[in-house]
Amino acid sequence: MSASVHKLVRKDGKKAQNILAPLWFLLPALIMVAIFIYYPVLATANMSFKNYKLFDQSNIFYNGFENFRGIFKDLAFRRILQNTVLWVTVSLFFQFFIGFGLALYLKKKFKFSGLYQSIIFIPWALSGFLMGLVWKWIFDDNLGVLNDMMLKLGLIDTPVPWLSNANWAMAAVIIANIWYGVTFFVIMILAALQGVPNEILEAAELDGCGKAKTLLLVIIPYIRPTLILIVLLRIIWITNFPDIIFGMTSGGPNQQTHILSSWLVQKITYDQDWGSGSALGLLMLCVLFIFTVFYLLATRLEKDSEGN
């Protein structure tokens, strides 16, 4: 009895003494995030209402919504918006299903599976930009490996204008992006699959579930919350991943393969129009934020209606 009282007192004493404890644990991380994420976002929001061109620094002034108007009026804007949607949805679709398929295979142990698993990482041996340079040579209109092979195999009669035609170029960058992103899904889904308790699988087999049925009715519902989360993360990352496009096409021909994030990088680094770049960045952030909120609400609502 006395021991427990003693403990309680000590516990309370500790609590009072440690009122600042959370702060010390949190502060370093919070400071970094505040300086390098939150402050820059606010500064960008501020700059997006300014006429701010790096090559014309004597002429910086607030110009209201001029930068936003400029973006919407840009002739390439509609195309870039379409590209972004295409880039995200098509990349995500193929990355997800290829990744899921590979993860199902890799779940089983087999000879060399250790070595094989490390091969899953291989696309990530180079940064996206540098990988884009390699893919550029594979898709090259005249000297490219792909055209060369398809001509030899008789699949095509004339070279496909992979990088000089806007639509083909868009297909080419998306193919490269799919290749680069499968790794993420394999790892994440593999991890989720390993988390499925064996008892459930055995119960399913006892109940006479076939492989397909087990997958659809047992495994997928079980890992669904994880899938929802990694798909969201992936959508955000694909949206914010202009590297491959820069390596392969730099947004060309004629701005036709830009997505929002690569257009943003071009505005900042090549055009040096920081006002317009900031406005675009702010727009992207708002769109992603709204999307994320809706995505989370939608998946949560669905969950609630299922009675979870």
Partner: protein
């Protein structure tokens, strides 16, 4: 591994236990197919690196080089390759040490300490995930100049650490919440301070999740391009990806030299993947997102 273990201990009649896992023919085909797809770009990259400039344009792309002449590779190695390699290692290691320390301590607080605004502050940090890095490029560039660290490796550490924090805290907090609360309460009752509980109990127990975030973040930072492009300029401050990018300007028309540089840039991670093999995948999976 754990799957196999739990299988062998399960008390189920042998008839019903799962067949010993074997890959069917179809599975082998799929696995090999992806292996091929994953490696194909690298085959060409390496092959091109050994070709001569005229050979590149005259011979079919898929044809192996006439002779395996390492001249392009030597050219690259004579440049700032090793300096860039060292820079990359320094930046990634320093960033990761900082990230692990400050993100794990914050995750501990989010997971186990009770304070006002816990959920809100946690959400605010994790919300950093949706911020496009490019959006922050200009302010960080200006900030870097103001702090007089422009064109130094130190300039990269700040944004690298900051942008690794949201996902790291997200994964670690989740993981630490799974560690039984009794551990925490027992230690506190025994008179241990919070920091002692963190260092002696939670940090060691979160090791698997730490491995995961370290691998993921290290690969991402090793391959980071944009901040390094904007925040450094001189050749001896460039990280590996940027050094190859600079070669691209330097040897504009010498594609084989660029391909050789790309190959050499890929070597470190190739080696790492080969050496760590399944440790890598198991490590990443152990602490991956489980909601």
């Amino acid at each position: 591994m754990s799957l196999l273990k739990s299988r062998s201990t399960a008390k189920i009649p042998k008839v019903y236990t799962f067949r010993r896992p074997k890959l069917s023919v179809l599975s082998w085909i799929v696995a090999l197919l992806w292996l091929l797809v994953a490696l194909v770009p690298y085959f060409f990259m390496i092959g091109f690196g050994f070709k001569g400039q005229t050979e590149l344009f005259s011979s079919p792309a898929w044809k192996p080089p006439a002779k395996w002449d390492p001249v392009n590779f030597l050219l690259v190695l004579q440049g700032t390759y090793f300096r860039a390699l060292l820079n990359s290692i320094i930046v990634v290691v320093v960033s990761m040490v900082i990230v692990v320390l400050i993100a794990s301590s914050a995750s501990f607080a989010f997971a186990r300490l009770r304070f006002r605004g816990n959920a809100i502050i946690f959400s605010a940090v994790v919300a950093g995930l949706i911020v496009p890095q490019h959006t922050t490029l200009i302010p960080i560039y200006i900030l870097t100049n103001k702090l007089h660290v422009y064109d130094s490796l130190a300039a990269l550490i700040g944004p690298y650490v900051a942008f690794a924090i949201p996902i790291t805290i997200f994964i670690l907090t989740q993981f630490m919440r799974e560690i039984p609360k009794d551990f925490f309460e027992a230690a506190i009752v025994d008179g241990a301070s919070h920091s002692r509980v963190f260092f002696k109990v939670y940090l060691p127990l979160a090791r698997t999740a730490l491995v995961t975030v370290v691998i993921f973040n290290s690969v991402a930072l090793w391959n980071e391009f944009l901040f390094a492009y904007v925040l450094t300029s001189s050749s001896n401050k460039r990280t590996l990806p940027l050094t190859v990018f600079d070669y691209q300007g330097q040897y504009a028309s010498n594609t084989p030299a660029i391909m050789a540089a790309l190959t050499l840039a890929a070597v470190p991670l190739f080696l790492a993947y080969f050496i760590f093999q399944e440790k890598l995948v198991n490590g990443v999976m152990a602490g991956a997102i489980k909601s």
